[in-house]
Assembly symmetry: C2
Homo-oligomer: 343 residues x 2
Amino acid sequence: MSAKCTTIKDIARESGFSLSTVSLVLNNHPRISKTTRDKVMEVVRRHNYYPNSAARGLASKSSYTLSVVIPNLTRVFSDIYLGEIISGIYERAASQGYKILLDIATDDFIRSREYLKLLVSRRTDGMFFIGADTHADFLREFEGTFHRFILVNQWFPDTKLNFVCADYGASARLAAAHLLGLGHRHIGLIAGTNTYTGLKFRDEFLKTCAEWPAGPAQVVWVDGGEEWSQRGGYAATTQLMQKAPALTAIMAANDRMALGAMRWLADNHREIPEEVSVMGADDIDLASYMNPSLSTIRHDFYQVGIESCNRMLQMLRGEITECSDLLPTSLVVRGSTARARKD
Amino acid sequence: MSAKCTTIKDIARESGFSLSTVSLVLNNHPRISKTTRDKVMEVVRRHNYYPNSAARGLASKSSYTLSVVIPNLTRVFSDIYLGEIISGIYERAASQGYKILLDIATDDFIRSREYLKLLVSRRTDGMFFIGADTHADFLREFEGTFHRFILVNQWFPDTKLNFVCADYGASARLAAAHLLGLGHRHIGLIAGTNTYTGLKFRDEFLKTCAEWPAGPAQVVWVDGGEEWSQRGGYAATTQLMQKAPALTAIMAANDRMALGAMRWLADNHREIPEEVSVMGADDIDLASYMNPSLSTIRHDFYQVGIESCNRMLQMLRGEITECSDLLPTSLVVRGSTARARKD
DNA sequence: CTTGTCTTGTCAATCGTTTGACTGTATTTT
DNA sequence: AAAATACAGTCAAACGATTGACAAGACAAG
């Protein structure tokens, strides 16, 4: 059907060198002289030859492929951080000649243990699992195996699973310190509780507020819903204002929920930040476009992607065997937070 | 370092059958009896054995991998339709045992002709190129080659390149007919001109309006910008209202630009649809949440993904050698369009 | 002149499957 | 009873690279 593929043998014959020599040239092995290299490459280029990757993979025991598994959410691609993380991983991987295999953690994918199959069959050299929720128990299967495996922007308590994750605990402390420093002592927290990072954020926030040296704050928290959405933030704010009408600040575990809170406050004619300060987390694009612009904690997901891949590459080179990185976050003060009002 | 991989040889030895038998079992070949199959599979499962994919690929001359190349835009992942298309492709591919290799059309990717390399090296059995703009000339390189290659939701004039694409021409006719049928005779068009599908939409829209049996309409068009964004739509509307203050309807080539137009009209106190009707295209989620809700043309990108992959699979099976599909679109009438006002 | 060292290239084993051709029985047909 | 057909499994030749061990020649040192 198709033109018969040219192989390394053809290149060898036509250039007059041995099979091995051609192979060494293609792999930039220093044992080969420049003259030879040039002659061989000329033939290679003339034939538009690229070595068969299956054969190469078989002989070299490496697929030069990394798997990225993303959660099976309907709108997963439009979620802020997925794209950023993937871009980061892709950039590093591509720069080292690795390709990215994309998978979605569907029920089938999990039930058939496709993730194991990928690694055992050596179709992939390593695997990234991006931000799943607290129910992803099957991941524990990787504990104690020799497979290259990294949880990205997530984390499981009581396991030795590798991870690279934004430091949500630190974010919570930064955010709490900011609000407490502004004098807020009645704070509403809209939390996300279906991820371990979300739980960590909530717990650290509550702890920081309770132990604040200048005097503890009273915090009321509600769940913002599974989707961490604007809609969920709106609904959560309704609850919050019933439970704690006197609050002077609202902290949302992500910016989308914070936008929902702002919307509620606008709809109910509460001035931001004069009456109520609002703070988010992530620092999505929209945060700076709002009016007032949203104070938040910056989570650099692109960097999370970059670092995850760096770790993976180190593992593949045998430089490390495990990793557990918490990446720094930073406070971004904009217009939605101000000193607490005096009642 | 790691436990030595179990191979088909180990399974053969331990189950007492030959290499070939094991292989045939694994490939569900009918030549093998149920008893044998069961015995072999028992050993396979006990060892957690999965065949080496490189070896399999080498022997079978198929990588069981499909490439998806996406445009190199900063926010590409958050773009409405990328996720939908990829989900569609993924679903079909996964159901047939194919994996998805993700690539981004960076300058490097193009300059080094990585796309060719992937196909020639047989690292991938086929390639999808999702929605690039009019500058993607390098794609013409695939004309007349035997490579499995499909343009997804895009299309190049004057080439024989395979494509599967929403029928933007039909969309334009549907939209025009809707507005013309409502009596609009002064229409503003916000077009996207950096893709061939965008140009097609514009031309068909103008043509339909010019040739309308019940009397042609006067259409003024402006470019909504490279990004097809809300912001671009807003700016375009400003221009439009200067050029044609008497217009009674605005047609935007996508919903995001339509939202920009609606925003401008709200800011300038024009009632929608009483004074000006607004119409979009794509039918993004937000379209139905707006107030008034946005009339639009539905483009089913998930289906575009599904169909692209169907075509690819047919090509791989040798059932077809080329494809050029325009997928149907449909009119969605909501609250933003109404009969033209009488001046 | 012998020995040792460097350079540069080649040999040949190996990676782990798939698959067309073949073999040896058992069963059916003539 | 002989011949034809099915059935179930095995043989062995690919598939197209990589790579450690080896070799041949040039040159320098002793």
